[in-house]
């Protein structure tokens, strides 16, 4: 009898442990909405996709696609429709869906294209990344297909693309990696100021690769892998910071050979660079 009781207790313990952890505890206790980013958003998107509400990429960015999917879920499950993932919503979501965090994160890390729809074997929802980059068709045939190799893991104003962020970071790192942070933001801001000026090409890549415009392009340093600091500097510039105070040019007075650049009205000096209009 005692042995039976022990066996029963063991079975009970095993069955409790084996119940999927699909309650609100899975999320952090933070309330999230549009603009948020990170692990909570990855989980939110995965769970919404599991239930068929979210059909876009699982990328950890709470944008409009996530917002509408969440609202549709809230409406269907009789919750207040506000597009905010608060305690009630997260609890309801966790109660109706499953989330295999390890699997989802492994796909994101590997840069695989994948979806996370419920009721479909996971191995049929992934297309392995063999090229080191994203793009192409999705595994499941749905319109979505997540991969964090298709861009960077950052959020930028909608008027810019992730490719532009990458290119700008390369330019900042190649041109100003030894400069103070402020100087790096200023270099990014100069390129963005040129975008607004009628006297320059009207794309970021056109500006950066304009013949003879940037030393880093001429000497190949633009192809060095930018660090996180250069990327941060670009994000700040894209969000409006301009330590150059509207400059269109900059030069290093120790190395500049052009007479013309010295004739430009100067604004300020940051580190080794003089910024001018």
């Amino acid at each position: 009898m005692r042995l039976l009781s022990i066996l029963f207790c063991l079975m009970l313990a095993v069955s409790i442990v084996s119940i999927p952890h699909n309650d609100a505890v899975a999320f952090s206790d933070q309330q999230i909405t549009r603009g948020a980013y990170g692990d909570d958003v990855i989980e939110l998107q995965s769970r919404l996709q599991y239930l068929g509400f979210y059909t876009s990429k699982i990328d950890g960015k709470f944008g409009y696609n996530t917002y509408w999917a969440l609202r549709n879920f809230q409406e269907k499950y009789g919750l207040p429709v506000d597009g905010i993932a608060g305690t009630k919503t997260k609890k309801a979501l966790a109660g109706h869906s499953d989330y295999d965090e390890k699997w989802v994160k492994a796909q994101l890390k590997a840069g695989n294209q994948f979806t996370y729809y419920g009721g479909k074997p996971l191995d049929q929802q992934v297309k392995k990344n063999n090229t080191g980059g994203g793009g192409g068709a999705t595994a499941s045939g749905n319109n979505s297909g997540s991969s964090n190799k298709s861009g960077t893991d950052t959020q930028i104003p909608p008027k810019y693309t992730e490719r532009e962020l990458q290119l700008l970071a390369n330019a900042v790192y190649g041109e100003a990696r030894g400069e103070p942070y402020e100087g790096q933001v200023a270099v990014a801001a100069v390129i963005l100021n040129r975008l607004e000026s009628p006297e320059f090409p009207n794309t970021i890549s056109g500006i950066i690769f304009q013949p003879l415009a940037f030393t880093a392009v001429a000497d190949g340093q633009i192809w060095l892998e930018p660090n996180q600091r250069a990327k941060e500097a670009v994000i700040d510039a894209m969000n409006g910071w301009d330590p150059s105070e509207n400059a269109l040019y900059y030069f290093n007075p120790k190395t500049a050979t052009s007479k013309w650049i010295w004739s430009r009205p100067q604004i300020k000096q940051i580190g080794e660079h003089i910024f001018c209009s």
Binding site: G38, K61, W68, F200, P201, L212, I235, N239, E245
Partner: protein, 427 residues
């Protein structure tokens, strides 16, 4: 001895072969680049003549359809010549002059097609057509040498050498500068905009360096004990300001304050950021507290974006008369995710403060304005630039297109004349 001689001979032959191979690779690469530059140069020169003809042809017609076709060509050709010119190494100054001139011509054509003000076009264009012809001739003379060489890059390089005092492009450069000012003088709106970004409206009295530092310590109490280095902007800067760099422990950054009145232009600090501890709601609250400290009490929340170290939160001034948001008077804050510390503030636009002219909002029937599968989710009244440096009262619409997948758009529509000013795809 003999063996050594053989080894030496083989080494010399090998090195020679390698050097010839390297030289031929370099030459081949130079020829490829040269060919591409020549192609762009030819393209620019040919299209420049087409552009001149299109301007001339646009003066032939009174018929609206016929004139529109020419205006379209002018807009397209000016854009194509711009693209070709921006891809050839002719030096920054000349390139700027060309792009500026062609851009203004294209914009004029686009504007005329939109407004239908053909009288103004007919008045302005005969002179511009003549000027374009003379520019085209000068350009042909300046570039003739480029076709005489045998794929040799030296001519290119000599022309764009910064130390070379005279280049064949000097005439084109000077003519362009002259025509640019005469053919496309600044409009009233452009001139107002120029004054605005140069902070000409600031009438406050000049503050001293000491007062500027006091202000920084008041606005940002966290760095009040920092080591400061204050420099003044260059004499040629469009507006004078204090550039204040600081260092305090792990914090390194700068503040720019205007000399007139000590208004905050921007603030940015770099420091290591720890694990995120604050919720989105707490971050927004912190941002509002920071705004109070900075004295910006007439703004409302617009949007926020989280990244791995910080949140960027945007606010815009609220127009007191109709409560619409003035996006041009925006202020951006950067808030640390670990403690909610203010890592940055950008008030450059906020201090420019737009003058808003009274405007009326005419209602729009969204059902007839948008396609059937488009649903309007949000409508907000805002003020924004109409591309001609005028602040217009607009409807900012968040619309969802229910196709195979849901797609979200931000559409900005002039509230008075219902022109669509901006469409943005949101993800």
């Amino acid at each position: 001895m003999r063996t050594l001689l053989v080894i030496l001979t083989v080494a010399v032959i090998g090195l020679g072969a390698y050097s010839i191979n390297l030289h031929s690779d370099k030459e081949s690469l130079q020829r490829t680049v040269h060919a591409q530059y020549t192609e762009k140069l030819t393209d620019a020169s040919e299209k420049l003549s087409y552009l001149q003809r299109a301007v001339s042809q646009s003066l032939l017609f009174k018929d609206e359809q016929a004139i529109h076709s020419e205006l379209d060509s002018i807009w397209r050709l000016s854009s194509e010549v711009r693209s070709s010119i921006s891809n050839i190494p002719i030096g920054q100054e000349l390139s700027n002059e060309w792009l500026g001139y062609l851009g203004k011509l294209g914009e004029e054509a686009r504007k005329t097609a939109k407004t239908g003000d053909y009288e103004a076009w007919r008045e302005k264009m005969p002179q511009i057509s003549t000027n374009l012809q003379s520019l085209s001739d000068e350009w042909t003379t300046a570039t003739v040498d480029y076709y005489k060489q045998d794929g040799n890059m030296d001519v290119w390089l000599r022309q764009v050498d910064n130390k070379n005092p005279n280049t064949s492009f000097d005439n084109v450069k000077n003519t362009l500068k002259d025509y640019g000012e005469k053919d496309f003088p600044l409009t009233l709106s452009e001139s107002d905009w120029q004054k605005k970004i140069e902070l000409k409206a600031l009438q406050d009295s000049v503050i001293t360096e000491k007062e500027a530092l006091e202000k920084v310590k008041y606005l940002f109490p966290l760095i009040k004990d920092a080591t400061f280095t204050v420099t003044k902007s260059s004499d040629t800067a469009p507006y004078p300001f204090y550039h204040i760099q600081f260092h305090q422990g792990i914090r390194l950054g700068y503040v720019d304050l205007t000399e007139k009145g000590g208004h905050l232009l921007s603030y940015l600090v770099e420091r290591p950021v720890g694990e995120a501890k604050l919720s989105q709601e707490q971050i927004t609250k912190k941002a509002e507290e920071h705004l109070q400290r900075l004295g910006m009490k007439d703004v409302a929340f617009v949007e926020s974006r989280e990244n791995h170290l910080a949140w960027h939160v945007t606010f815009a001034r609220v127009n007191p008369s109709d409560k619409a948001l003035i996006y041009a008077d925006g202020v951006q804050l950067k808030i640390a995710k670990d403690t909610g510390e203010l890592l940055g503030a950008n008030a450059m636009e906020y201090i420019q403060e737009e003058t808003i002219k009274p405007q009326t909002a005419k209602p729009i029937d969204w059902k007839t304005f948008f396609d059937e599968d488009v649903q309007v989710e949000e409508v907000k009244n805002i003020y924004t630039d109409n591309g001609q440096f005028e602040q217009r009262l607009c409807y900012e619409v968040i619309a969802v297109r229910n196709g195979k997948t849901q797609e979200t758009f931000r559409v900005v529509i002039d509230a008075e004349n219902h022109n669509v000013l901006k469409v943005e795809y949101l993800t």
